[in-house]
């Protein structure tokens, strides 16, 4: 479960109460949009989709031979899977993420893989993501070269239910292809097959994950008093003048979670609003305690321009006793303590030290690093982002700002239809 601690933001409960009406209106405005699939609120329903979960489970059971799982996808099609697989993998399957287009690591990977034991999963909502298509071309060619007609069993796709080149390719070739519902966008798709399929091969506890996410849904549909994501959204709204939002997680297993959150927050909320203003805060990923030795100096003595969220587990799932070692008496204060006690003390000390420095900081306590609690956290953060979109007057579910870069890339690669864009005229405009 999740627990909010705002002990260093003293006026918060009263301020929250004072804004209850506006927050209720934001909640209602968001929920009213659920009726139209165009509004891309399908992520709310993913935790209830037990039918897809069953299909995915059957697919995993039908393929016990998999030893290496190559996940081709980028952005929303990889960050969530990577974060959860790193935290909750139980199986011996090795995961490889082709979420880039650098040739050397892909060549190195191909040299170590046995194609007969490898399953390739390519995920792209649109089916036309350049990086994903590039990776797919390489791995398809490799599978065909090594396995002949047998390649089809080694490829699985996740894409739009009807549209796009990956769907067309799957139908033409008879390849298994899971669906990202039409009304679910990439960065909100972690609980669709984009994330669930790799997690099934990790033997992660998917039921618990979805059960946790349903708890966040319950809260988000509740009145303000019980609505945790509406409260944390309001915390961000109150501090929107601070340019940097630090998302600092005290768990090594969740080391890839900040990157997932950065996309969710930045790509949803970094927008031009209805009045033409540039809005959004910049999410900064951080991990405790290691960033105490990297970023905390700046947080303590640098500019007071940050809102910090500390995500802190309250209990370990398994602890490790720190033994006594002769000759290392400097470490005597650690002898006999659980290692988790050190982790917890560091989180608490950092929390206090940041508040003492005058930074705005709150904590989100996670009962433990379990699929249930983390499923709850992920869905909580998606709700927080959606509520913030309402409060900031932006559409949290599009990404118009990435178009120019895509078109320029096509132009530079000489793709027909994009001529003229890459002729250097932009430099002249500068």
């Amino acid at each position: 479960m999740l627990r909010l601690d705002t002990r260093f933001l003293p006026g918060f409960p009263e301020t929250l109460k004072a804004h209850a009406e506006a927050l209720k209106a934001a909640q209602e405005a968001l929920l009213a949009k659920r009726r139209d699939p165009q509004n891309m609120l399908g992520w709310i329903d993913l935790p209830e989709d037990t039918e897809t979960l069953r299909e995915i489970r059957r697919f995993r059971e039908a393929n016990p031979w998999v030893e290496d799982f190559v996940h081709i996808g980028i952005g929303g099609s990889s960050l969530g899977a990577m974060a959860l697989e790193a935290a909750f993998r139980q199986s011996g399957v090795r995961f490889h993420y082709v979420d880039h287009v650098e040739p050397e690591p892909i060549l190195a990977l191909l040299r170590t893989l046995d194609p007969r034991k490898t399953l390739v999963h390519a995920a792209s909502k649109s089916g036309s993501t350049a990086e994903t298509l590039a990776g797919l071309l390489v791995f398809l060619d490799w599978l065909k070269a090594h396995l002949g007609e047998g390649w089809r069993r080694h490829l699985v796709l996740t894409t739009d239910p009807k549209k796009g080149p990956l769907r067309a390719f799957a139908e033409r070739e008879g390849i298994r292809a899971f669906a990202i519902p039409e009304n679910v966008g990439g960065r909100f798709s972690v609980l669709s097959p984009v994330g669930l399929l790799p997690l099934a091969f990790a033997d992660a506890d998917l039921e618990a994950l979805l059960m946790g996410a349903r708890k966040a849904n319950e809260q988000a549909l509740s009145p303000l008093e019980a609505n945790l994501p509406l409260k944390t959204a309001f915390l961000h709204h109150l501090h929107r003048h601070l340019p940097v939002h630090v998302f600092m997680v005290y768990s090594e297993r969740l080391k890839h979670l900040p990157a997932w959150f950065v996309q969710l927050h930045d790509e949803s909320l970094g927008k031009v609003d209805r009045e033409g203003r540039r809005v959004g805060t910049t999410a900064l990923p951080a991990l405790g305690p290691k960033d105490q030795h990297a970023q905390v100096q700046l947080f303590r003595e640098g500019p007071l321009d940050k809102l910090l969220t500390l995500v802190v587990p309250e209990a370990p799932t398994e602890d490790l006793l720190l033994p006594e070692v002769e000759g290392l008496e400097e470490a005597e204060y650690l002898f006999g303590k659980g290692m988790f006690q050190l982790l917890k003390a560091e989180a608490e000390a950092t929390y206090r030290a940041l508040a003492e420095a005058g930074q705005k900081v709150y904590a989100l306590y996670l009962s433990e690093v379990s699929p249930y609690a983390v499923g709850w956290l992920l869905q909580h953060l998606m709700w927080q982002t959606a509520f913030l979109g309402e409060l900031w007057g932006v559409n949290a579910f599009d990404q118009p700002g990435v178009e120019l870069g895509k078109r320029l890339t096509f132009a530079l690669l000489g793709r027909p239809g994009y001529e003229g864009l890459a002729d250097g005229s932009m430099e002249k405009q500068m």
Copy 2:
């Protein structure tokens, strides 16, 4: 080699010229400090230290049995090693980083390791870093339990040449211990044994790495026209009103480099200056092209509050031809192209799109992702940081802001001498 591109910052060459005197003064002020070891400028000399390199090479050759290398260290004692090992590992040795204190992943690691094939390297300049001591206690206990008196061959330390509990422990037990020179701080120590020892077990090309670093030294000691780090430092000085500095690297092999840079920049420059002002900009790690799908929406449409550095390789060390695949004609524009061409086009397109949006952005081109070029880049960035310290009037080599957190941690753990700090009085002050 490194090449600076400021094509979207049109007035820059003239502005640079106008500030030549002040920059020369900053350079001279920094170099004058080299005479006093207290000023911690020993990192300048590390690339010339061939004697230490020879010792490390001999140690590596004397231990060909190592299959798993456990690196215990945090912050400056792990980030550089991790970044370079990920980029340049040639050996089959598996690397494991204990740069945290979460019990579960450590327990999981211990269950997979064979102590007879494992070398444990604990690195801490002071020798008293809590996280490093905690990890060391656990691994020492484990080695002793499995190997009896043989444990000594499986542990190696890197610490202060004379002081601190790790040095004392090494002398008492007869353990091999490499030295971080007294005048080298953690975040500037990557080219000391902290980084070189693990890299020797990775069979990375250490000569080339140091040779590249010497090129950065040459430039940094040159007059302004040939002094690349002084120029990039000035770029940051010019844009110091922008709160966020994005460090975006277009290389998957260099995926851990931004985290190393974040510590270098934030912990060196996030300080209270001589006039009592809080200075520093917040470094934001980013990787291309994946962050085009995560952060670029914000960079394009969100607030114009960023200075961005794009680090872009100019050539691959090995390329991969994108094959033609029937049925995937959507990807026709990629057929027959080198994968690196896509990577390069994406970097160039993003560069133009960010400038078009009105963000301040410049590029640093890296001839290729090689130890020589990356050694040059690392040392360049250390010089840039040191010059910026002069320009901003802060000591780039201390970290006073992390003290309170450490003391509060000790208090919460009941370490003698820290009583009273953790009694909750801080909360009352808020």
